[in-house]
Assembly symmetry: C2
Homo-oligomer: 237 residues x 2
């Protein structure tokens, strides 16, 4: 196959998915393609002149930061600065962004070179994080910040609202305080199952109070699963 | 003097200055007052219910980051991500933000408690940085991002354009390359003067090539003064 400069390699299925799921239509398809392209792919197809995601990542990093900051600032009018900062840094972590990246199928449609593909780069969390940032940078340039914010309402903010991040609501501490109102309670969390492949593992934990199983929780990390178990226990008390 | 809740302690001269110099009129004066208030002042005047700058700093930090990132992204369409990132981190440093803070008279008008005042907090760079961020957070909430961007066009971007930051244009390297085109050249930079009080020091350096003084430079740090000397020498070559 002989390809010419300007030929779009990004799978049109990704654009259809963005439109159907999020109502996003890029004006500049080359821009979103660049956001989805690793330098190894660009190097193998220099004749296409795609470029790579790296500069868009620089911009997208700041785009995500302002939107998430504004969301937290307004959602938690009473939270002091220190807790806001800890919560934000828990959200903008590599693993969180990698999860969001997979939620929008970045892992399926990103473009990488053959060598990187063999080494499993497609599932590497740092790469997925970078491309999630670059994608938001491209969306910002193409459609402006309010479209980015609408997109984040579907992809990021629901995870904040569900209490997945640490300074949001500390369900474990709440539960402990509640249970100890009626005397000493010994609370244990035990991992009872790990599901899924390494790059997409989920943890299941049991919450045990004074030897009795109170609830179970499923999460993207042990800590997250423990919080989810404590949350459920609180709901059931 | 008996003061009531809601009484504004921020000097109206600061608001006049913002209007005259930058065309900025805050709708919510309590908001800009809070941005200018250290917790020590709030604690001494609890009855006024001012609050302090800290949450606004959390927001303003991200506001500055996105605007400066966008400016750099557009100004340097060829600069790779690594250099953009280094340049951005050189701009968002404590000392740079403290300088910008003084440029808009934050040091004159900020509100701090008596104990902090005695300890010289008014000139502390970390405090000036924080309040500069908080001020931008307040401006963002009160007037929106485009007004912030217009403000930064007057207060921050000119410093970027003048080459004060390191990955922008490295005048020292350029000069060395240029001078060495006609053989080996020994280049020295010598600090010949330091002006101003500790919190607002300026450095003067001489640029000496093969024993001959080529130019002088004045800057906010030794590195900055050296860059300015090299810049001038390049202009004169």
């Amino acid at each position: 196959m002989l390809l010419e400069r300007g030929h779009v390699m990004l799978d049109p299925k990704f654009l259809e998915f963005l439109d159907e799921r999020y109502g996003i239509k890029f004006n500049d398809k080359r821009l979103v393609e660049r956001a989805m392209t690793h330098s190894s792919f660009d190097n193998e197809h220099k004749e296409l002149g795609i470029g790579d995601y790296e500069r868009l990542e620089f911009l997208g990093d700041a785009v995500l930061e302002i939107n998430i900051s504004r969301y937290l600032f307004k959602k938690y009018p009473e939270l002091p600065e220190g807790k806001l900062t800890r919560l934000r840094s828990d959200i903008v972590r590599t693993d969180s962004f990698a999860r969001f990246a997979k939620e929008i199928n970045i892992d399926k449609y990103l473009l990488i070179g053959k060598g990187e593909e063999k080494q499993g780069a497609r599932q590497r969390h740092t790469l997925l994080e970078d491309i999630f940032e670059a994608f938001n940078g491209a969306l910002y340039l193409d459609q402006g910040n309010e479209v980015v914010n609408e997109f984040l309402k579907k992809v990021v903010y629901p995870h904040i609202d569900s209490g997945e991040f640490s300074e949001d609501t500390d369900f474990k501490t709440h539960l402990q305080e509640k249970l100890q109102q009626s005397g000493e309670v010994e609370i244990d969390y035990k991992v009872i199952d790990e599901e899924g492949p390494d790059h997409d593992k989920k943890f299941k934990v049991e919450l045990i109070a004074n030897g009795k199983i109170l609830s179970k929780g499923l999460g993207y990390s042990k800590k997250h699963a423990e919080q989810m178990a404590a949350k459920r226990a609180l709901e059931e008390l």
